[in-house]
């Protein structure tokens, strides 16, 4: 089997927003995303984990260039997309028209708030068909048929009736299914799922995730799953990128990361997760458990976790980069004095055993 090429590669991406200047001090631009690199292979699920404001949504929105500019600004970086027709292209250099043919067609996105992400004044059907007629040369009748099939694919009963309904007539879970149907109607190669289950009930969450897994297997698309829910990560992800304060602090396969977290923040995050069947008086906070492991690979120095990183140097310090500290594991750190290492782009073609994941 030839070495598969990544579908999407984000290299050293930095996005900033204008910050509010303190009195008497000049305004520092807030780095919402800084030195973010990641890669995605066809059929792979990459989970981007982090708390609110850690830059994971901005990273995903940047792929589709949906960050409003201004106020946002792309400072650095490349977003390489493997396009069938054009070969590998940098999405950040595409013009608006070229981007439009990518959006919704090759890369689709679903959002956190199914309540507000659908236009309240148009029927569900017309909103899905809008995407289809835009990207495919089909007649109205064909588009209608595709819409119906898309709705049936996401498990909506009686799609012919449903597509005449307005978003407010549907429940939250239904709306998220509609969002997924809309995203998948044009059979994209990559789905950006920005906290797709956060706003939903727990039972519905499980259904939606199950649905996404099923659709991923059927259509073979890649998913970038943005979430702050470690349970969702453990169940769905192949590769995990942990983000804090706009930077990726650890990157590796899901088994590795859950098994042996190396970055203090990842350790704190995982330790703060309740474990079923294990009685604890009080869960440790992220800060409590954010320790530097004693067996941290030699030659690298990792900065301790701080809650409010320096506004200019950023999280982990000015010199911190992603280094592959052990094979298949990237951690935000600096090489120890006297050691020589070059930061590398995280590329990890790992896919968990799908049978095990879905059984």
């Amino acid at each position: 089997m030839p070495e598969p090429k990544p579908l999407l590669q984000i290299e050293d991406l930095a996005v900033s927003f204008p910050g509010k200047g303190e009195r008497g001090r000049p305004a520092v631009r807030t780095q919402a995303v800084d030195r973010v690199s990641m890669s995605l292979f066809p059929g792979q699920t990459l989970a981007v984990v982090g708390e609110s404001g850690s830059g994971k949504s901005v990273s995903a929105l940047s792929v589709l260039r949906l960050v409003p500019t201004p106020p946002g600004h792309y400072d650095r970086g490349r977003i390489l997309w493997r396009d069938e027709k054009h070969g590998t292209v940098d999405l950040l250099t595409r013009n608006e028209k070229q981007m439009r043919s990518v959006r919704g067609n090759q890369i689709a996105m679903i959002f956190q708030e199914p309540m507000t992400s659908l236009n309240p004044v148009y029927t569900v059907g017309s909103q899905i068909m809008e995407a289809i007629t835009l990207h495919r040369a089909v007649t109205r009748a064909e588009a209608l048929a595709i819409t119906e099939r898309a709705l049936r694919d996401v498990g909506i009963a009686d799609p012919a009736q449903r597509l005449k309904e307005y978003p407010h007539q549907l429940s939250g879970g239904m709306r998220q299914r509609v969002m997924i149907a809309m995203a998948l109607a044009c059979e994209p190669e990559l789905l950006l799922a920005d906290e797709p289950t956060t706003a939903l009930d727990v039972t519905i969450q499980a259904q939606i995730l199950e649905l996404l897994r099923k659709l991923q297997q059927e259509k073979g698309m890649a998913i970038m799953l943005i979430t702050h829910d470690l349970g969702v990560v453990a169940e769905n992800a192949d590769v995990v990128a942990v983000m804090y304060a706009g930077r990726i602090c650890e990157y590796g396969s899901v088994l590795d990361i859950f098994d042996r977290p190396m970055h203090p923040y990842t350790r704190g995050l995982l330790a703060s997760m309740p474990v079923l069947g294990k009685a604890t008086h009080r869960l440790p906070t992220v800060m409590d458990a954010a320790t530097i492991p004693g067996d941290f690979p030699e030659g690298f120095i990792v900065a301790p976790h701080v809650e409010n990183p320096h506004p200019v140097d950023g999280y982990g310090g000015a010199a911190a980069r992603l280094y592959e500290v052990t094979p298949g594991r990237w951690v935000l750190c600096t090489p120890a004095p006297g050691h020589d290492a070059t930061p590398t782009l995280p590329v990890l073609d790992y896919k968990r055993d799908t049978m095990a994941a879905t059984s």
Partner: protein
């Protein structure tokens, strides 16, 4: 849908009654009785006229009855449903069931009748006839202004929101407030004084709705023997320019600001992001997704613009000498012609409530979340 309209209309009846009652009781509370007011307004009246007036008032309101009774009598006269006799006047005949006979032996009926708005003393004509002449003129002014306001406001508001922070936005956001603050009386006086005055630019006619020779004109403009003849249509349009501008600029400024903020609010809505993520071009995102949702507050405001415009017509018609309902109102108020005041209030109320109903229906159509139930 029909049931909805019907229910809304019924809900509006109390409001309409309230409006006429408020106006009636203000007039009733004024110093001097109704009859006194009418009689004292001109002293040189002939003895016969005087008696005729007293009789008229007595018949219509009951001279010595308390104000609420007088109001109910008036209400009965103008109501399209009630008791009436066949004989008194052709104007008040209608269809109904015979319920008895009056002392003169004339049949009394209960049912639908022609509403009787009374008789105006300043014009010495039935109020219904006067309204039939003046109402269309005011309606014409307003019906020209409202679409104008909406169309320009939507385009300028959308443009400002789209180029937020641009020169147009910065210039318009402060100048719209200024425009909104310009008093209609000032704008009217200045427009008339500078643009319709022979000592300055005599571009527009000073007053009225038609030129002097409008009666002889052809309808459409044409080239005749004596050069260009504007024709009736163009002549009237020319007379309407300044009044319509005067009537609409305030609402336009207000609506434009409203459009801008509504569009800005929706531009960052989640569903707009979804639409962009679908790959829709900006044009479609703006006009179909953003604007459609931004229209809702504009529709709501429509119901409130109409009363303002009716008030504005009073000023505009006064300044530009247009023989519409507003000018009639001023004359009637000046000479305390109670019948006309009540009739105009009633018409104003009906128009406002119709506008409210239409706005309500438009909203229900534009926003699927509103149900007819």
């Amino acid at each position: 849908m029909t049931a909805y309209i019907l229910r809304r209309t019924l809900l509006m009846l109390p409001t309409l009654l309230g409006m006429t009652a408020v106006v009636f009781f203000i007039m009733a509370a004024a110093p001097g009785s109704v009859a006194e007011l009418l009689i004292s307004s001109d002293g040189e009246m002939r003895a016969g006229d005087r008696q005729a007036r007293i009789d008229y008032i007595k018949e219509r309101y009951g001279l010595d009855d308390p104000a609420p009774v007088q109001y109910l009598r008036w209400l009965h006269k103008v109501s399209p449903v009630g008791v009436f006799t066949d004989s008194t006047d052709d104007r008040v005949a209608g269809y109904g069931l015979r319920v008895g006979t009056d002392p003169q032996g004339v049949a009394t009926r209960l049912g639908l009748k022609t509403p009787d708005l009374g008789h105006s003393f300043i014009k010495n004509r039935p109020v219904t006839d006067i309204l039939a002449e003046t109402l269309p003129i005011t309606l014409l002014l307003n019906l020209l202004s409202v679409p104008l306001v909406y169309v320009i406001a939507i385009f300028s508001g959308v443009y400002a929101a789209r180029h937020r922070g641009g020169w147009f936005d910065v210039a318009s956001s402060s100048s719209m407030l200024a425009l909104w603050s310009v008093p209609t009386i000032w704008a009217g006086v200045l427009l008339q004084g500078f643009l319709a005055n022979e000592s300055y630019i005599s571009m527009f006619p000073t007053s009225g709705l038609h030129g002097l020779r409008a009666g002889e004109m052809r309808f459409l403009p044409m080239w005749g023997d004596g050069g260009f003849a504007p024709g009736w249509l163009l002549d009237t349009a020319w007379h309407l320019v300044l009044p319509v501008v005067c009537l609409s600029y305030g609402s336009f400024a207000f609506m434009s600001k409203l459009t801008r903020s509504a569009v800005l609010e929706n531009m960052h809505a989640d569903f707009v992001r979804t639409a962009r993520a679908k790959g829709l071009p900006d044009r479609v995102v703006l006009w179909q997704h953003t604007l459609r949702n931004s229209l809702l507050p504009l529709i709501t405001m429509g119901a409130f613009i109409i009363p303002g415009m009716l008030g504005g017509s009073v000023i505009v018609e006064y300044i530009f000498g247009i023989p519409g309902m507003g000018k009639l109102m001023i004359e009637a108020i000046e000479f305390k012609d109670q019948e006309v005041v009540m009739a105009v209030t009633l018409m104003g109320g009906v128009l406002t409530l119709i506008a409210y109903l239409v706005a309500d229906l438009c909203y229900a159509i534009a926003d699927p979340r509103v149900s007819y139930e």
